[in-house]
Symmetry: C2
Subunit: 197 residues, 2 copies
DNA sequence: CCTCTTTCTTGACAGTGTAAAGATCACGTA
DNA sequence: TACGTGATCTTTACACTGTCAAGAAAGAGG
C-alpha cells in the first residue's frame, strides 16, 4: 500500500496508534480528534468513519488499554514464586506498574466519561481483567470464597488498596511513598498489600 | 445591589456557585466556561476577569471542595466514639461520603489537569486535609510514628484503601460492594478499613 | 468496461476558550 | 457637586473543537 494513496490501508489501526500518542502527550483533557487525524496525515473527518465520534475512538483505545493492563499483571505474576499470596501481590504490582507507565490511558480506562461503558468489547476485556483479579484472590482465600462475606471483603479490599495506590501515585501522592527510591517503594507497597492477603 | 445593575455585586461568588452546578450537571469533561457565564446571566467573558481562565475557575472550585472535604471527615469523626482507631475509620467513611456525594468535584480535586496544583490557596487547603488524615493515623500508631517505617506504612495504606474505595465506587465498582444496601455496605467498608489500623 | 461499496475529503455549522478594546459603574478627592 | 480614576463587565474577534452532509477516489466483482 503506497504511502500517498488515497486509501490508507489500515487507517483504523494507525488512528488508534496516533490516538495513544495524542493521549499520552496532551492527556484526556486536551485530547483532540482533529489532532489525531493530523498526526495520521489524514483529513479531520476521517476518524468518524471508523469510530463514529470521539467517544468511539477513546472507547476502542480504552479496550486496548485493558488488554495491556491484564498483560502487565500476568507479566509480574510470571516472575513470582508459585504461591497464591505471592502471586496476588505480584498481580497488584503489575496493576500499579501499568498505571505508572500509562497514566493518561489508566485514567481514561477508570475515570473518564469519554468512554462508553456499555460497549460490548470494552465490557469483555474489562471484566476479563477484573475476574482475573478475583481468581487471584480466591486462590488465596480458599475454594468457595466469593460466597462467604470474608472472601468478598478480601477481594474488595485488595482491589481498593492497589487501585488507590495507583491513583494516588499518579498525582505524586503520598509524598511518604513517592520520595522513596524504586526498591524502597516496592517494598512498602508489598508491605501494604500483604496486610490484606 | 440591584439585580439588573451593570455591576453584579458579588459575581465571583455567584460564578463559583454556578460553576459547581455546571460541574455536577455536565462533569469536568463537558464543563463549559460560557455555560457558567450563561447560568450567572452574565457575558461570556466575565469569568476571565475574576479567575483568569478556565483553569483558574476550576482551581478555585477545587479549593472550596477541599474545605468541604475536610469538613465531611470531621463530621463523621464527631459521631464516632472517643477512640483513635474508631475515629480514623470514621474519617475514612467521611472521605468516602464526600466522594459519593460530589463525584465530579472529587474527580476534579484528585485527578484533573484543569486545576493548577501549584496554586497557593489550593495547596493550603489540600495539605490541611492530608495532614488531618496523618494526625488521625498518628493518634493510632503512637506518638512518633512518622519516623518509623511502620507508621508510614499505616498512613499510606489507610489513605490508599479509602481513596481506592472512593474512586472505584464512583464508577459503580466493585459490584460485590455496590450491590449491597447502605448498612451492609458501610459494614463492609468498616471491615476493610479496620484491617489496616 | 461498468456499477457498487467502502474509504476518505471537503465544506459548513454551532460551540469552545481566550485576548483586546470598549462601555459602565462605584468611589474617593477636590 | 464635579471629576477622574480604577474596577467591573460587555463586545468583538480569532483560532480551534466535534459533528454532520455531500462529494470524490479507489478497490471489488460482474
Amino acid at each position: 500500500m503506497s504511502e500517498t494513496s488515497y486509501h490508507h490501508g489500515d487507517l483504523r489501526a494507525a488512528l488508534l496508534c496516533e490516538a495513544e500518542a495524542e493521549l499520552t502527550e496532551h492527556g484526556v483533557e486536551r485530547f483532540s480528534l482533529r489532532g489525531v487525524a493530523k498526526r495520521a496525515g489524514v483529513s479531520h473527518a476521517a476518524p468518524a468513519h471508523h469510530f463514529g465520534d470521539k467517544t468511539g475512538l477513546l472507547t476502542a483505545l480504552a479496550a486496548i488499554g485493558f488488554e495491556r493492563f491484564l498483560a502487565a499483571q500476568k507479566r509480574r505474576e510470571a516472575l513470582a514464586p508459585d504461591d497464591p499470596a505471592e502471586r496476588l501481590v505480584a498481580s497488584g504490582l503489575g496493576y500499579i506498574d501499568y498505571a505508572m507507565a500509562n497514566p493518561a490511558l489508566f485514567r481514561l480506562m477508570f475515570a473518564s466519561k469519554w468512554v462508553a461503558e456499555e460497549d460490548p468489547t470494552l465490557c469483555e476485556v474489562a471484566s476479563a481483567a477484573f475476574t482475573h483479579l478475583a481468581d487471584a484472590v480466591s486462590a488465596v482465600t480458599g475454594p468457595e470464597p466469593m460466597e462467604a462475606s470474608t472472601g468478598q471483603t478480601v477481594l474488595v479490599g485488595a482491589w481498593a488498596v492497589v487501585h488507590g495506590l495507583a491513583d494516588l501515585m499518579l498525582t505524586g501522592r503520598p509524598k511518604a511513598l513517592m520520595s522513596l527510591d524504586d526498591a524502597e517503594r516496592e517494598a512498602m507497597i508489598r508491605a501494604i498489600v500483604s496486610k490484606f492477603v
